[in-house]
Symmetry: C2
Subunit: 217 residues, 2 copies
């Protein structure tokens, strides 16, 4: 109450060693979450992966959920940085194929380098807090996609735009799973190209002014 603290009510001073331990523990948690999922992962397993005692783990995190939350928040922060520039208004002037590159590539790269992100954000087994933040991110991304669609196809009704945005994002998520499953290298690149082909064929008719009815017939 009357304390003079800058950030929180608990003025816990961290040493450099502590920060390193936290990073090490989060990295270990990411590994085991990735392999076994959140629920099936024990805190002792995280500590073991980090070559640290259970007591040490609990010096930095009050409980198991807090580990996932901190990990999720850091990933979310990185994610926002990585994709934040993708939807800048300047990119709206790009033609569709180039816009797809600009938006899809950083998203895929992020998920390739942080596979735990999908593992954490996906299951219904994750703690409520993570799910909430994921929903918020999801909603943000959907809004951006809707805006892009509104820019390319202003004549569509809001319902149709929403449906197309949902579908576009669902396609991306499905393709992202394929990309992550593919071995790195030429095969992964080909899968990424294929995903862009899908999106392009789906969205191209909108740009050309056509309505949503069946094309090429």
């Amino acid at each position: 109450m009357s304390e003079d603290v800058s950030e929180e009510s608990k003025p816990r001073r961290r040493q450099a060693r502590g920060e390193r331990r936290i990073a090490q523990l989060l990295q270990a948690a990411a590994n085991v979450f990735c392999t076994y999922g959140y629920t099936a992962t024990s805190t002792n397993a995280i500590a073991r992966e980090a070559s640290v005692s259970p007591g040490t783990l609990y010096q930095y995190f009050p409980n198991k959920e807090a580990i996932a939350i901190e990990l999720g928040e850091r990933l979310l922060h990185e994610m926002r940085e990585a994709h934040g520039q993708a939807f800048t208004p300047g990119n709206l002037a790009l033609p569709l194929p180039e816009l797809l590159d600009v938006v899809v590539d950083p998203m895929i790269e992020f998920n390739c380098e942080n596979p735990v992100f999908l593992a954490l954000m996906h299951g219904s087994e994750v703690p409520g807090r993570i799910a909430e933040e994921h929903d918020a991110l999801h909603a943000n991304l959907l809004t951006s996609v809707r805006d892009v669609i509104a820019h390319f196809a202003p004549t569509l009704s809001p319902e149709e735009r929403a449906r197309i945005a949902d579908m576009t994002f669902a396609i991306f998520k499905g393709g992202l799973g394929l990309v992550l499953a593919a071995p790195e290298g030429a095969e992964r690149d080909a899968t990424i190209a294929e995903l862009k082909t899908v999106l392009l064929r789906y969205l191209s008719p909108l740009v050309d002014g056509t309505v949503t009815t069946t094309p090429t017939r």
Copy 2:
């Protein structure tokens, strides 16, 4: 060894009441698996959902995994029945839009009526046995899709066909999630129609004899 049994080594005679209990327990298991996921579901919770004591549950299933396996096998069996006729050679003669209807509709209907199927087959938290059977089904479906693609686009290389089949299936899975998330009724129907539009726009160029390079430009 020397016993005269018709089906298994344990000639356990089931009464009608027992069969009813099994169905009741599997239904209860489906409900809780759907809500909380396999790992986070306790056997006591399943018994409680079925209004039955834990001891009764273990009279019919040797362990928790066996419940999921039996449930999975029954679903897999239903699924094979539901989709078995979809890929019959006769349907190959259909034009693409009608073929899509014939294949996609029963698949979606099955998953709408058995949402636990996706829940069980999806997570990396499921017991190994379920994952194996799911992989087998997945491989079967992919082979069927590959065959259809080979029929419509015989000039493509096997690698390209495999990639396109993978992508087609990934799109379907992504769209299926959307369909299940949509409220039943007009909105769900519209989502299904949109999913078919995606698949049609993606696959149409193959039928027209075009190669995989970017279209409409």
